[in-house]
């Protein structure tokens, strides 16, 4: 046996065990409330992974991503209610629109640096919200104004119309979406445009001096990010069957995505997932148990966690957790990890 193989076996076994566990979870958890919490965890992990393409790799801080969630949700829902288009098709239309809008917004704003980009995306997000709140009807399409839209109910579990009474199908759909999103991120991180993107994100001047068209790759990343975010928006609409501007287009939502990424580890593949796994339960439980004390308390707690993480682990929780995992493997296998 060559050195390190025992360690590698244990590593593989643990990862396979986790994958099996994640894919069989609905068999163990029967309580729909817990399922709902898990689904939301995966959804936030998915949305933050999409956000991470711009917010992480491109090195800017978008704070208006709820706009694209909203575009996805509104587009697929309006298409379905007005013309009977299945949300499965509508979600791609929504994603396409979001990508176009993202590109249009991205071309001028991605040239901005630091806080200016963050502020302009925030302004755009708020603009979309105000627009949605003041639009009750466009032609035959009901937008619903501040009251939002209630999706008509379809009896039973209807795969064709993306509506289920059981939580299990939602769990698998979002799990697969998350896996695909993670694969895309992983793939991008290993190809040339991914390196350009990261280089442009870290040292734009240096990258440009080397001939990298930084803003081109950033706009690409933005378009892809918006595309994926909008798909998540349709999923959210089909899951809750009700949405309204303050919720789906609100700043709280955009901030939460950024918080999750920053705490988990911005610009890493696992960061958004870890962030969502850590912060979603905090959010749910503060909402359930502390909501009567102070509304919005979960955002305050997020803020506090964010400050602590930024002081002690400025690259997010991915690093310490990853070190911990390595040490655990070392201990289990009795072999030392080869240093990179």
């Amino acid at each position: 046996m060559n050195s390190g193989s025992r360690r590698k076996t244990i590593d593989t076994v643990l990862k396979v065990a986790l994958a099996v566990l994640v894919f069989t979870l609905p068999l163990w958890i029967k309580n729909p409330t817990y399922m709902q919490i898990l689904i939301f965890m995966l959804l936030y992990a998915y949305l933050t992974t999409s956000w991470n393409l711009v917010g992480g790799f491109a090195g800017v801080l978008p704070l208006g991503h709820s706009a694209y969630v909203g575009i996805g949700a509104y587009t697929s829902t309006i298409l379905w209610i007005t013309w009977g288009v299945s949300p499965w098709l509508g979600m791609w239309v929504g994603a396409f629109i979001a990508a176009v809008v993202g590109t249009i917004i991205g071309i001028p704003t991605l040239k901005l640096r630091g806080a200016y980009f963050a502020l302009s995306t925030m302004a755009f997000g708020e603009g979309v919200r105000v627009l949605a709140e003041n639009t009750v009807k466009v032609g035959p399409c009901v937008v619903g104004g501040p009251q939002g839209i209630c999706l008509p109910l379809v009896p039973g579990n209807n795969l064709a119309l993306f509506q289920f009474v059981s939580k299990t199908p939602y769990y698998y759909i979002i799990l697969i979406m998350l896996c695909i999103a993670l694969f895309i991120t992983w793939h991008i991180s290993r190809i040339r445009p991914g390196y350009y993107l990261a280089a442009g994100g870290e040292e734009p001047e240096a990258a440009e001096a080397l001939g990298v068209n930084v803003s081109k790759y950033k706009v690409w990343a933005m378009a892809l990010s918006c595309f994926m975010t909008a798909l998540g928006g349709t999923f959210l609409a089909q899951l809750t069957l009700y949405f309204y501007p303050k919720q789906i287009l609100g700043l709280d939502f955009s901030f939460e995505l950024a918080f999750i990424a920053l705490i988990g580890g911005r610009g890493t593949i696992a960061g958004p997932v870890i962030g969502a796994l850590l912060l979603r339960p905090v959010s749910e439980f503060t909402r359930i148990y502390l909501s009567s004390v102070l509304p919005g308390l979960h955002l305050v707690i997020f803020g506090a966690i964010l400050i602590l993480v930024m002081i002690y682990q400025p690259f997010g929780l991915v690093r310490p957790l990853s070190r911990f995992y390595d040490r655990m493997l070392d201990a289990l296998s009795g072999e030392k990890k080869k240093e990179r």
Partner: protein
């Protein structure tokens, strides 16, 4: 950067495992005690409508206590009603989560709520999806019972019935007093309820030939409504129609008084104006304003004074129309359970659909209503729900709500002061 990319799914393994452990630990099932029937209540217990939410809760608690003390649900071996209260914060999103939680985790057999139409609208959909009956004591938005739902039952009148009475009243006063009324201002909170009312007002204003000079929606969480009042003042409408929650109703009334806004009639639409806190915090400023309401303490029903005294002694304020609906709703629920002889949500639904409760059957919750019977049509709407108009009047030094319309149920010795002085 490449190093950072290499931090792959390792962290997830560690984290995933620990989260799973926590979740699976919480899976232990709770055994429900026998002879207890759990009813879920979704109410705004914090946020802008918290004070009315609390009164609803108290009315439900008092009614439940009375029913339990009288032997509970006899056809189910004297089972006691147990209320589970959840706070919606007046937020639709939280309301939906609350409904899911009540049905899935608390395993309630029936839900009651949710005061705010904006919360009731999506949360009834959750109940419909899980086929659990949902009794709506007060939320008035028409569309709540207009979606073909089988599990939603509303006791209060629809908002279109409320606006109907506001205009009926104006027409009658025009004839009686010869006052000219031409222009109107609509001022309302920008949620589901307010916008629903405003739509009705527009239709009726058109029908009766009034000119709408101002249509102003405002957020009910606003801490300053001076700009809104400024607009009213410059437009000088004959009639101001309001739809407000508690805090904003108080703020609007006081700001209008400070800025000396005058109109021939200022008419509220229940909600915040029906809240006892409104009178307490506006004092003289609300004198001669009108409000439409489903119920009033001065109605001619013999059981009201004793119950109101008991309520006031315990909680410190009078019963309001909405607390009466909430109080009555518990009797409707108990009656349905009694006839269903089961806690199966489907059987309870069928029993609710067959409800026919009238004044004089010895049910306290019904005997205090302003109308005679509760009976649901096939959309789940109580067909008999009725409305009265009140005027805020200084009666021997205290500000009281005096029923003035319809004239046949007006408080003896009083008639509307119109136009407002």
């Amino acid at each position: 950067m490449k190093r950072v990319f290499r931090h792959t799914l390792k962290g997830v393994v560690v984290f995933g495992l620990s989260v799973l452990l926590v979740l699976s630990a919480g899976q232990a099932s709770k055994a429900a005690g026998p002879k207890e029937i759990k009813i879920g209540n979704i109410l705004p217990l914090s946020g802008p409508s918290a004070s009315v939410g609390l009164q609803n809760k108290q009315a439900v608690e008092l009614a439940t206590e009375k029913i339990n003390a009288a032997g509970g649900i006899k056809s189910l071996g004297g089972a006691k009603l147990v209320n589970v209260f959840t706070d919606s914060k007046g937020d639709p999103n939280v309301g939906v989560t609350a409904a899911e939680q009540l049905i899935n985790t608390e395993k309630v057999v029936l839900i009651s709520g949710a005061w705010n139409s904006a919360v009731t609208y999506p949360s009834t959909q959750v109940a419909e999806r899980y086929q659990v009956p949902y009794v709506v004591p007060v939320s008035v938005a028409d569309k709540i019972t207009e979606r073909g739902f089988k599990y939603t039952f509303r006791i209060a009148a629809k908002d279109s019935w409320w606006t109907d009475y506001q205009f009926k009243f104006l027409e009658e006063q025009k004839k009686l007093t010869g006052t000219k009324i031409e222009t109107m201002a609509f001022v309302y909170e920008n949620g589901d309820w307010g916008t629903g009312m405003a739509k009705q007002w527009h239709e009726r204003a058109k029908k009766f030939g009034y000119k709408v000079v101002l249509d102003e929606a405002y957020p009910s969480t606003a801490s300053d409504l001076t700009p809104v009042v400024m607009k009213i003042k410059t437009k000088k409408p004959d009639v101001i129609l309001l739809t407000s929650n508690a805090a904003d109703a108080i703020l609007l009334t006081n700001t209008m008084a400070t800025m000396k806004v005058k109109a021939k009639a200022i008419i509220g639409t229940g909600g915040g104006h029906a809240d006892p806190a409104f009178r307490k915090n506006t004092g003289k400023n609300c004198e001669y304003m009108f409000d439409v309401v489903e119920w009033e303490t001065d109605l001619g029903r013999p059981q009201i004074p004793a119950l109101n005294a008991e309520f006031k002694k315990r909680y410190g304020y009078d019963l309001a129309g909405e607390s009466v609906d909430a109080f009555a709703s518990v009797y409707v629920i108990a009656d349905a359970l009694e006839r269903a002889k089961s806690t199966d949500p489907k059987k309870i639904r069928d029993a609710l659909a067959a409800t026919k409760l009238c004044v004089g059957q010895g049910k306290l919750g019904i005997d205090i209503l302003s109308y005679d019977c509760i009976e649901f049509d096939k959309t789940g709407q109580n067909k008999h729900a009725g409305i009265v108009l009140v005027q805020f009047r200084d009666v021997k030094g205290t500000m009281e709500r005096v029923t003035v319309f319809p004239t046949k149920v007006a408080r003896p010795g009083f008639k509307a002061v119109f136009p407002m002085p």
